[in-house]
């Protein structure tokens, strides 16, 4: 149990940004490709995990602590769905980050997610949605290892067990054996002199190391914003960002962390305007 809450907060941010990066790079947005219509399948739809899955996760949560006061935990999982011409299956579930640190619960939840089976219909639907006129250019797909990974969707579930609240975020990715990469144009299509690409428009290439290099291209860093600027943004947002905790708002706690250049202790800091 060497990881700490704050460190996880940053780590989680980076990973969530990765997920966002993948989403943006592929032209998808969560929800657009929700895989509804798969009645009976244990598969996310409408941006939510199915009830049966939530029930399983809740059972896992019951194996965790039973606090006497309100306490929240965040867990993020990456679910890889492997696909070939004949079938698709969940082939890997990775715990990306957790503030819980109780392996029994984490493993239980991972096992439950591994049980999301038979996404064939879902994938068929995905193909129907993507094939004709798909806006997704192959070269804009991110790469994971030797596979081309496309984020299908990101879903979140809130699991409440007594005073414990688990926020479980699941990134579902489809891995495909890497196809022959399509060559990218290397010259500009205008007569303008070549300029370095702005960071936000850099796309992963076939030779790029995928994850780490993809992240900075999509970090929505508010350029030039100071910690106090972000405090102002945070206060602008109102509840729950300006929640009072003993004479001090949560925004002020976030500002303390920002000024000291240390990880945010409240996971909500990033949602309240801090980067």
């Amino acid at each position: 149990m060497t990881s700490r809450l704050g460190q996880h907060g940053r780590s989680k941010l980076a990973r969530r940004l990765l997920a966002v990066g993948l989403t943006m790079a592929t032209g998808y947005t969560s929800g657009v490709l929700t895989l509804g219509g798969c009645a009976g399948a244990s598969w996310p739809s409408d941006g939510k995990l199915p009830d049966r899955m939530v029930d399983k996760l809740t059972e896992c949560g019951k194996k965790g602590p039973t606090p006497l006061t309100s306490v929240s935990y965040d867990l993020a999982f990456m679910v890889h769905v492997a696909e070939d011409e004949r079938e698709a299956r969940v082939d890997e579930v990775t715990l990306m980050s957790s503030t819980l640190h109780i392996s029994e619960v984490e493993t239980c939840m991972a096992d439950a997610l591994y049980g999301m089976r038979t996404p064939l219909e879902a994938l068929a639907l995905r193909r129907r949605n993507l094939s004709p006129g798909s806006p997704v250019a192959p070269e804009t797909r991110a790469l994971l290892g030797q596979a081309q990974a496309v984020q299908l969707l990101e879903v979140m579930a809130l699991i409440v067990v007594g005073y414990a609240v688990y926020t479980v975020i699941v990134h579902v990715l489809v891995d495909k054996p890497r196809a022959k990469p399509r060559p990218r144009p290397v010259t500009a299509e205008t007569d303008e002199p070549l300029q370095p690409l702005p960071a936000a428009t850099v796309v992963p290439t076939a030779t790029a190391v995928p994850i780490v290099t993809a992240v900075p291209t999509v970090i929505p860093t508010p350029v030039g914003k100071s910690c106090t600027d972000m405090y102002v943004d945070c206060r602008e947002k109102g509840p729950p960002c300006d929640r009072k905790l003993g004479g001090k708002t949560m925004c002020a706690y976030c500002q303390d962390n920002c000024l000291a250049d240390e990880p945010y202790k409240f996971k909500q800091c990033t949602e309240c305007g801090f980067r």
Partner: protein, 338 residues
């Protein structure tokens, strides 16, 4: 984690002084964590717990129970483990806890105070760090360290525990002489007194060698930032100036909510140094009003206060700064009666 540590973690009543440490302790297996979150370095404090609780709620204009120390729902069964960081805000709270536990009959042998030193930020701070620490948290330390300290915990010696209780008694005393003496001379085992005094002294008006009465450092900063232009308290706090940087250092101890209170106290005060008008967001604290400095305020800032009562009183522990009835001012010899 040894079985004894596991058992202590589960069975003990734990006290934590910041919003983060309870989560850490619960994660490590504790089942009862009492949050004592109040920032006692600002506002009134009283010897009697019931009276203290009442004045604190009134000070923060709150009915919220941030502070559970006096909650009747808590069954104070030994052992009690007190987790305290180097933050001066937490240290004052520690004295209060020692006093409270003695009042309810817990022997000092049943109380385990776990001290955690400050961890310097690994990165480069964006603004200079203040000469006092008000932001440290026990949860800054890795779990292993917490468990190691718990495994090795021993009760404080009786004399040290007594000194903690005495410090609370001195802090809430309407006569600050004993407390000031402790701060200036130091008390063995309580190294927080130096930085605490550095902080507290910024809250008192200053009498110069020439006999001029000047604003406290905190008010001087406010009056430096305020101007003819209307500013919300949020804008005052975020002011991009040296005064703004220093103000944020003090506010790291008082909490940001104190800033609006202090500005409102000035605006309500009869001296007319600070003017107030309605802001654009009446529903939001710290932006619901805007403040500006009047000519009177500029005179106070530049030439000093004609008299102590020209500024609103500011309660700190058992006394009040700027109060004619307890005219304590900062002078060459420390805090002295005017």
């Amino acid at each position: 984690m040894t079985m004894n540590t596991v058992r202590t973690m589960r069975s003990a009543t734990h006290i934590a002084f910041d919003p983060f440490t309870p989560d850490t302790l619960l994660r490590l297996g504790s089942t009862t964590v009492v949050q004592a979150l109040d920032r006692l370095v600002i506002g009134p404090c009283r010897p009697d717990p019931a009276e203290h609780a009442r004045v604190r709620l009134s000070w923060w204009h709150s009915t919220e129970g941030w502070d559970q120390l006096y909650s009747p729902d808590i069954r104070w069964e030994p052992p009690v483990v007190v987790w305290v960081s180097a933050s001066i805000v937490e240290r004052v709270n520690l004295w209060r806890v020692c006093d409270w536990l003695r009042r309810i009959g817990l022997a000092h042998q049943d109380v385990f105070v776990l001290d955690f030193e400050r961890i310097r930020p690994r990165g480069t701070p964006k603004e200079p760090l203040p000469p006092f620490d008000c932001t440290s948290s026990v949860s800054d330390h890795p779990d292993e360290i917490l468990l190691e300290r718990l495994a090795a915990a021993e009760p404080w010696p009786s004399a040290r525990y007594d000194r903690a209780v005495s410090l609370w008694d001195e802090y809430v005393d309407p006569d600050p002489s004993r407390f000031i003496q402790s701060c200036v001379q130091g008390v063995e085992g309580f190294s927080e007194l130096g930085p605490l005094w550095r902080f507290l002294s910024s809250l008192f008006p200053i009498k110069t060698d020439e006999g001029t009465l000047r604003l406290s450092r905190l008010d001087e900063l406010l009056f430096t930032i305020l101007s003819d232009q209307w500013l919300t308290p949020v804008a005052v706090l975020a002011h991009k100036s040296e005064a703004g940087v220093e103000l944020r250092q003090w506010l790291s101890c008082t909490g940001d909510l104190f800033l609006e209170d202090r500005l409102a106290q000035w605006a309500r005060h009869g001296s007319g140094a600070v003017a107030r008008a309605a802001g654009q967001r009446p529903d939001r604290e710290m932006v619901s009003s805007v403040y500006g400095l009047t000519d009177v305020g500029k005179r106070f800032r530049d030439s000093g206060l004609p008299q102590l009562s020209d500024a609103p009183a500011l309660p700190i522990g058992g006394i009040e700064a700027y109060a004619p009835s307890s005219p304590w001012v900062l002078a060459k010899g420390g805090l002295v009666r005017l």
